[in-house]
Amino acid sequence: MEALLTIWSYLPDAISSYLGEPMVWVMLILGTALGYFVGVMPGLGPTMGMALSLGIIYRLPVEQGMALLIGIFVAAVGSGGITASLINIPGTAAAAATCLDGYAMVKQGRGREACGYSVFASVIGTLMATVFIFLIQPFVTTIALKFGDWETFLFCMFGLTVCGSLSGDRPVKGWLAAFIGFFISMCGAESVQSVVRYNFGRSELLSGFNSTVAMLGLFGIGEVLYTLMNKQSTKVEGKAGLPIIKLGVFAQNIANIIKSSLAGIWIGFIPGIGESAACWFSYDIARRSSKSKETFGKGNPEGMIAAEVANNASSVGALIPALSLGIPGSATVAIFISAMYLMGYRPGPTLVMENPGILSGICVLFVVAALGLLVIAFLASSVTLRLLSIPESVLMPLIAVFCAVGAYGTTNTPFSLVQLAFFGILGLLMKIYNYPIAPLVLGMLVGNTADTCLRRALTQYAGNISGMLLRPFGLAVLAALILVTILSIRSDRKSKAASKATSKVGD
């Protein structure tokens, strides 16, 4: 424990090693600018932006690669609310709740104010979650180190169950996506006894599907084709101008900000839910506890602040299980984990022991990227409306080619293009038929770990299975898993009953 607590002492070193290098600043600024661009452009988003950067990251020194990635991550999640406010289309799924009050403000002629609330709340959410992670991560890692193979398996299953059950009103589709992802992850030679599983005679598949190429296909090619499917063009309204930040309003909302941050971090911590659920959850909490409930949806800054603080806190909070257990909390963090592997890190309980300065380094970059977002949002405010006017029909072919180049660059084999095509079509079909992609990605990333851990645990406790089942941490995760399954079945029944009642009323 003491050894883990010393990771805080690496903060000065991290500041000097990361921020002392000019190229890290260049990459951070570039990443933040790129992140802002993909965040405000409807149809792009943090997952696509980060997936596209994977083809570049492994060519860069670790500090620079990390700076580029975190810049994109923070700015893309944080800037989605600007589009949500200005054109009533969330730039990212995480900004969906921001549309309600943000667009209402724009219609009232308070567009610059709406952008100010969105950006500043995003920065606050990121900063609060980063500080929280920095303080809590050593303790979480201490618990994670007590996790054996059995607990890790259960935690993976917990993530998949929660992830599926929170796929809106269609948990069955969420679970199907999760298990299909789980199945895909088992392709190739497994790590316990090197048994080859469905590689279809291709030596390239002996190490399984490449997760980076899969992300580029699912979030890149799939998204490009889906976006281009409809001939809609974005209508941009409003006038350009610097965002207005009313600090007094933020001061009045301190309780709201703290609640939203904690709610966001908590949702981020549970694997697979992601920031898109956090914004609605937090918006609802803010509405319930507000004195002016009736103005929610009509331009109330409380709702905007709650949604934006929560989705950014959630995106950072999703790093907690990722760094301590190697299990991604969201799709964006799934890409973050892939990037960490590309950079030579092994996310999991031993990460901070093998690389004691990594937590401080990540936190420093998050803080600087959040402040960078604030600067970029101000500098780019005049060009944001022009950016939103770029037709998707001109931009999307370029993104498709970047995906192909990135996929080839990741593995240096033409077979990655076949994988890219497969995952691109899969992503497109999933979007068309309303299957959530996040559970599939989570299944792909945790499937192999779950399989290896379960089989190792069973072998380890060969003569004493009850000893495995009665491990205290395992029991706690198992209880949570059962509880979530029961609750999700109950909520599924309730939603079915509600939909039946609605259809009767409709008749």
Partner: protein, 156 residues
């Protein structure tokens, strides 16, 4: 009308078939080379979890079918025009990826960018501008970015 109703319920049976295919593939996985004594040997097989997951996919497929049949879930429908458009776009992208596989990035990338831009911006009829945009896109993706990143791209 009846055909449309069947089409709306087809998603569930497709998932069941997918689960069955997964199950068949999982059953074909060979046994572990090293045996573990007793019943545990069955549980630690490399095929055990893939089989379990395939069965879960089949069960969820059955649940999905029943929910679709009862009208609790609805398969999204798209206008024919959107289907044709997405099929053309997917086909162009697939041809591009196959062409890159065999002939490298340079020519297919330029042709792909040009064809996509022409198809998507047909009404603008400014083919010279689109040709220039395609050339810029090709230069950026095939030369500039790989050069900046020291990436050995297969050009031909």
């Amino acid at each position: 009308m009846k055909n449309e109703k069947i089409g709306r319920c087809l998603e569930g049976p497709i998932m069941i078939v997918l689960g069955i295919v997964c199950l068949i593939l999982s059953l074909q996985i060979r046994n572990n080379p090293v045996k573990v004594p007793g019943f545990l040997n069955v549980l630690v097989q490399a095929k055990m979890l893939p089989i379990a997951v395939s069965v879960l996919v089949i069960i969820l497929g059955v649940i999905l079918t029943s929910q679709l049949k009862k009208g609790l879930l609805v398969t999204p429908s798209m206008p024919k025009e959107s289907w044709i458009r997405v099929l053309i776009l997917t086909l162009i992208t697939l041809v591009y990826l196959i062409a890159v596989y065999f002939t490298g990035f340079l020519i297919p990338t330029f042709v792909y960018c040009l064809v996509m831009l022409l198809y998507l911006n047909w009404k603008q009829k400014n083919s010279i501008l689109l040709l220039a945009v395609a050339a810029v896109y090709t230069a950026v993706t095939v030369f500039l970015v790989p050069w900046m990143l020291n990436l050995n791209l297969m050009l031909f």
